[in-house]
């Protein structure tokens, strides 16, 4: 708190509904040249608690926070509120916005957010921290250097345990496991292939938790030239599973195979009292992403940071997947399908 206000970047955080906000705030705290100017949260109790934790001010009114000379805003609300909060922040004239993934719950919402920000000269970023995993960056360098030749197929997973809370209230989340877990891996595939998926096939289900929302998702993406990929998005991990979630990729190339376990750097801990536990000791994924976001807030550029367009591109695969689930047929990603999330009868 010893640098003067003018020289420090002022960042506001809108909502801690998504737990990732904790990690973003932590990374902001590590920077001497950044101040968390304030927190707004629809839940006053949570907002006040987080303001205490991160030594900042809780604002009951987001408009007052947004009016307080912010350079950047981070949004980690429930998915369906991303659009209104991004547009509110853009109206307030911040330089840059980092929005938690998925950018939006529908393609039209994402398109509107991108247009709204670009019309006002505000840079919109999507939170895709997996891009920043050193293991993924190394994998991508090898791919771009042609070490495994031409990519023919990718097998991806982002499995995890059921997150509960608003994530399973589809009026707030926009969908279940497919909504939650498709976009991370879809974005990594975009970075590896540099081309958009042409069509998506998907199977879904509710066999794990037997609720109205999807807890099972298995997508097949087809790209130009016959390149294909699958993504398993299922919330299939039981309570006793030692890791909460995984991100894995197997890339088949004409000259070799790459296998990535993005959270593979972990210790396993056993004791008498409980089941085994895993401790990830690999690099923080959020550190480099937040640093890139702060470059945007300074008026600079951060070409590796996921943009609103990147968020839209990944989200379009989610929408096509939900359409495919209802049709049992591949759906073209650009067909402008009307999104209907399956609701299982119980």
């Amino acid at each position: 708190m010893n640098t003067n206000r003018q020289s420090r970047l002022r960042i506001g955080i809108l909502s801690f509904a998504h737990g990732h906000a904790n990690s973003y705030a932590f990374e902001l705290e590590q920077r001497d040249d950044v101040v968390i100017a304030g927190i707004w949260d629809a839940d006053p109790e949570r907002g006040a608690e987080m303001a205490r934790r991160f030594d900042t001010i809780y604002y009951r009114s987001k408009d007052i926070l947004l009016g307080d000379e912010l350079d950047g805003v981070i949004i980690a609300s429930e998915n369906v509120h991303h659009r209104s909060l991004v547009e509110a922040a853009a109206s307030a004239g911040v330089k840059a916005i980092l929005c938690e993934k998925p950018l939006a719950t529908t393609v039209p919402d994402a398109e509107s957010m991108i247009r709204y920000c670009s019309d006002r000269g505000v840079k919109l970023a999507t939170s895709f921290p997996c891009r920043y995993a050193p293991s993924f960056r190394s994998m991508r360098e090898k791919v771009l250097a042609g070490e495994i030749g031409e990519i023919l197929a990718i097998r991806g997973t982002n499995r995890g345990s059921m997150p509960g809370g608003w994530f399973v209230d589809t009026s707030l989340s926009g969908g279940g496991a497919i909504m939650d877990h498709t976009v991370h891996v879809a974005d990594l595939m975009w970075l590896l292939l540099g081309q958009e998926a042409v069509s998506v096939y998907a199977e879904s289900g509710n066999q794990f938790h037997h609720q109205s929302w999807d807890d099972t998702g298995l997508l097949t993406l087809t790209y130009a030239d016959g390149v294909f990929a699958t993504i398993d998005t299922s919330w299939c991990r039981p309570k006793g599973f030692p890791t909460s979630g995984d991100v894995t990729l197997q890339i088949i190339g004409t000259r070799g195979v790459l296998d990535l376990d993005l959270f593979g750097q972990k210790l396993v801990h056993y004791n008498d009292a409980s089941q085994s536990d895993c401790f990830y000791w690999g690099s923080s994924l959020d550190k480099d992403m937040i640093d890139d976001f702060l470059l945007l807030c300074e008026g600079g550029s951060a070409p590796y940071l996921a943009t609103g367009e990147d968020g839209l591109r990944a989200g379009a695969i989610t929408s096509a997947a939900y359409a495919a689930v209802l049709l049992n047929d591949p759906v073209n990603v650009d067909a402008g399908v009307e999104q209907r999330v399956p609701a299982y009868s119980l």
Partner: protein, 330 residues
């Protein structure tokens, strides 16, 4: 009585069967037939002509280990001759040939068992048992994979590389998974697949397929088949249900790893994992023993031609899905 066994097709699989037959009680391994003249089966007579072999060796059991496209011909000959039949998987290369095999076996009324040996691999048998006993609760997703290098045959034409003969990883490799999955999780309603079959990459000895299965139970399956890997052979299984998960990964369960230092005299360094079992528990031996036991007791073979037919239907649906780009309903 002692069953007299004759082998048709003494390639890699046939030679391994020949060795196992020597350990099956109640069986005498009497002959082999192969159209190639240079087969050595340590003293067992090898015939190049079917009729001569049948007349001279007088077998009771015909064990068919030919390349896939020849299964139909020899099943029909064996059935017409009233022999008990063991036939390697897949049942046949086409659904038409599978139909003919079913008709021939049905008409002759002879016992016939297909070689879906994965059911006799202890990790797969145990995984099914855990599922059957409710260890994972209600299954939601099941993922299996079978990954190796492109199969190589030295000294003659590599029929695996001919899509019209082998059917690639879908029909030759992950057919194993299709059978085990059907056995464990019941019938499959819908198949969607993408793969290199039919592409120019297959013709450069690369095949890889990712297959989605929708079971009648509602469970979702994902099967990886690879002949695109650079070394080794790896299998994995992950069954997730509403009460738990069962995992198998052959790279993590291999109890012995042999790593040889690279030498200067042209020998390359390699690391080879080994997962040895008591010879009496070899899965191929166990399936042949189970077949013979069913003949002795007059019971249905433990794996039926109907099972093989259904597994093959899943494979043909996957191949059709790759060709058409659509999901295929069974």
């Amino acid at each position: 009585m002692t069953y007299r066994v004759a082998l048709v097709g003494a390639g890699n699989m046939g030679k391994w069967h020949a060795e196992q037959w020597g350990h099956v009680p109640g069986v005498e391994f009497v002959a082999a037939m192969d159209t190639r003249s240079n087969i050595d089966l340590s003293g067992t007579p090898v015939f190049s002509d079917w009729n001569t072999m049948i007349a001279q060796a007088k077998p009771d059991i015909i064990d068919i280990c030919t390349p896939t496209p020849f299964h139909r011909e020899y099943v029909e000959r064996a059935a017409a001759a009233g022999k008990a039949i063991f036939v390697e998987k897949p049942l046949a290369r086409t659904l038409e040939d599978c139909d003919s095999i079913m008709a021939a076996v049905g008409k002759a009324g002879v016992p016939a068992m297909p070689g879906h040996v994965v059911r006799y691999f202890p990790e797969y048998a145990s995984a099914k048992q855990i599922v059957d006993e409710g260890g994972v609760g209600h299954p939601g997703t099941v993922r299996t994979s079978r990954m190796s290098t492109f199969p190589n045959i030295t000294g003659r034409e590599n029929w695996y590389a001919d899509p019209d003969q082998s059917g690639g990883v879908i029909l030759d490799l992950i057919l194993h998974d299709f059978d085990w999955l059907r056995w464990t999780f019941g019938p499959v309603n819908r198949v969607f697949a993408r793969g290199l079959f039919g592409s120019r990459h297959f013709m450069s000895a690369l095949d890889y397929a990712l297959v989605t299965l929708r079971f009648a139970s509602g469970a979702v399956g994902h099967v990886t088949g690879s002949w695109a890997h650079t070394e080794g052979f790896r299998t994995t299984v992950e069954i997730a249900g509403d009460k738990g998960i069962v995992e198998h990964d052959s790279t993590r369960s291999a109890p012995l790893t042999v790593a040889l230092r690279r030498t200067d005299c042209g020998q390359i360094g390699v690391t080879v994992p080994e997962s040895p079992m008591r010879p009496q528990e070899d899965p191929y031996l166990k399936e042949l023993q189970a077949f013979v036991r069913s003949l002795e007791t007059g019971q249905t073979t433990p794996v039926t031609t109907e099972d093989a037919y259904e597994a093959a239907r899943i494979a043909f649906a996957a191949l059709r899905s790759i060709e058409t780009g659509k999901a295929v309903t069974l």
